[in-house]
Symmetry: C2
Subunit: 310 residues, 2 copies
């Protein structure tokens, strides 16, 4: 799994940063969070491919987070995409997409499903999520109400824990014949050999935890988000401002780098990635300095940056 | 007056070309033709300023020619623009702009007027244009039906001819006293000195012709456009394809470089500027070669290119 930063600027693009767009590539699938204007340009440059399995999650319906959907849909159609596309976002997302498809008069070459997000599971592991779940998934996407000027959501991608490593040695010792039965045990099911029942834990090591990635979108810090992001391996958080603009951050319902770091620390997030930088700052040095006073592991996102998640 | 090319790619952006957007800067006013996605990025880079007098003319409502309006409006508002903005385009332009302002929930900080274009004068010299003309203008904008897959317009910007140079020598010889009366003659009005009437042509040289700039937008060549573009000093024309793709050009209702050159030649356009290059071509060498076989003065537009119009 890798995280690709396609746009890391707040509100308006700068010479080096495009508008909000973050992709997770995972088992050949693209999971995109926000699609600000020019997302298609950054997406093309990243060479991610136009016919991949793909889901887009919009945090909120401000233009700098969602206008890019339109160009993506148009270019996907030009590229003759056939793979279905799922788009999720706050109430209004369906109107925004369908009204623009109508007004701009283009015909998508692929099926589009649009889901309205509410807090909780948007994509569930086993088809039990409220918004999606039409196929069994090995990750879930959870939504939590963010604290912004309009309805906005933060998201968590949580991989399903993987079963422990299979011990061929133990299986052989127990007299379970190699083949189909080993596969069943690996899948977590019991097997019976000569009338004797074997449980998966007799041959499997400890369960390997899936990775957890949090994406704040535009938000002030809140107790709800602190809880929501508990245990994130990577937390990508709004760091629009520096401490000197704390007042402005509160007025516009964004966060400072320090606030992002405090929340990440309280939530026990292992890695904090700052993003959504105001165009007023020339570089990210101030953000890094202020956040690193609080959290031990901070990175500043940059356009075209990639993080390989082990 | 100068022409700035902010986006010269067809349908989808490439590494070096953004989507359609051409600006004319003239006496402190920006006259923009089309605003494809990322227009605001190119506009920012060009340093044209957010509070200038400005009119935007959209050729047609395909996303790659108009999506950029939304980000422009949002960023203008962030920049606290106060100057009114006029937007013109085919029927549907008003719904596209107003529906998106509503759906994206932002409040423009400046008045926006949206006019639906029909063939003829969109902006008249003297307030007599059908679509605009609320203030006296020293240029006019004319629209002509283009030949594309949806309703599309080509535009011509025609500067008002400037009066000839004032001859102080002749005025003195005729005994017209320096001052207010000279000014009136320069403005083209008669004056009376000691009961004797003097006409402007007695002191003014030959009228100096204004410049004429044509913008085709997306179109096939047509007899109507050939007539419309007669006498252009600069004709900026759809050159999506090379001769080898003439069939494809006809199907998608675009032009080849040769077709652009033939039309420009027939219309007596002094300079032809090719634009709207399909992403399939690596460079513009083929377009230039094919067009230069037909027209003596051809340039290939490139993003960030500027042309100073004397």
């Amino acid at each position: 799994m890798r995280i690709l930063f396609l746009g890391t600027s707040a509100a308006q693009p700068t010479a080096s940063r495009g508008l909000s767009c973050t992709c997770i590539e995972r088992n050949g699938e693209i999971i995109m969070f926000d699609a600000g204007e020019c997302a298609q340009t950054a997406y093309t440059r990243a060479g991610l491919g136009w016919n991949k399995r793909m889901r887009i999650f919009i945090t909120h319906l401000h233009g700098d987070h969602c206008i890019g959907i339109l160009g993506l849909l148009q270019t996907m159609s030009m590229q003759r995409r056939t793979e279905p596309l799922e788009i999720f976002g706050p109430a209004g997302i369906e109107e925004f997409v369908t009204a623009n498809i109508r007004m701009l008069g283009f015909a998508p070459t692929f099926p589009i499903t649009i889901g309205t997000v509410s807090p909780g599971a948007v994509i569930g592991y086993g088809g039990d999520g409220r918004g999606g779940g039409r196929r069994r998934s090995d990750y879930e996407i959870l939504a939590c109400r963010a604290s912004h000027t309009i309805t906005a959501f933060s998201y968590v991608l949580r991989e399903r824990n993987r079963p422990g490593r299979f011990s061929e040695e133990n299986a052989a010792k127990l007299g379970i014949p190699r083949g189909r039965l080993w596969g069943r045990l690996q899948e977590g099911r019991e097997v019976v050999v000569d009338g004797k029942t074997f449980r998966p834990e007799q041959v499997l090591g400890e369960e390997r935890p899936g990775k957890v990635i949090g994406i704040s979108g535009d938000t002030m810090p809140s107790a709800e988000l602190e809880e929501f992001f508990v245990g994130c391996d990577y937390l990508i958080f709004d760091a629009t401002f520096l401490d000197g603009e704390q007042q402005r951050a509160a007025e516009t319902r964004h966060s400072t780098a320090s606030q992002a770091a405090l929340l990440a620390k309280s939530a026990g997030a292992k890695n904090l990635i700052l993003t959504h930088f105001s165009a007023r700052y020339r570089d990210d040095a101030g953000h890094l300095a202020e956040a690193r006073r609080i959290h031990p592991c901070v990175t500043a996102a940059a356009d075209r940056m990639e993080i390989q998640v082990a």
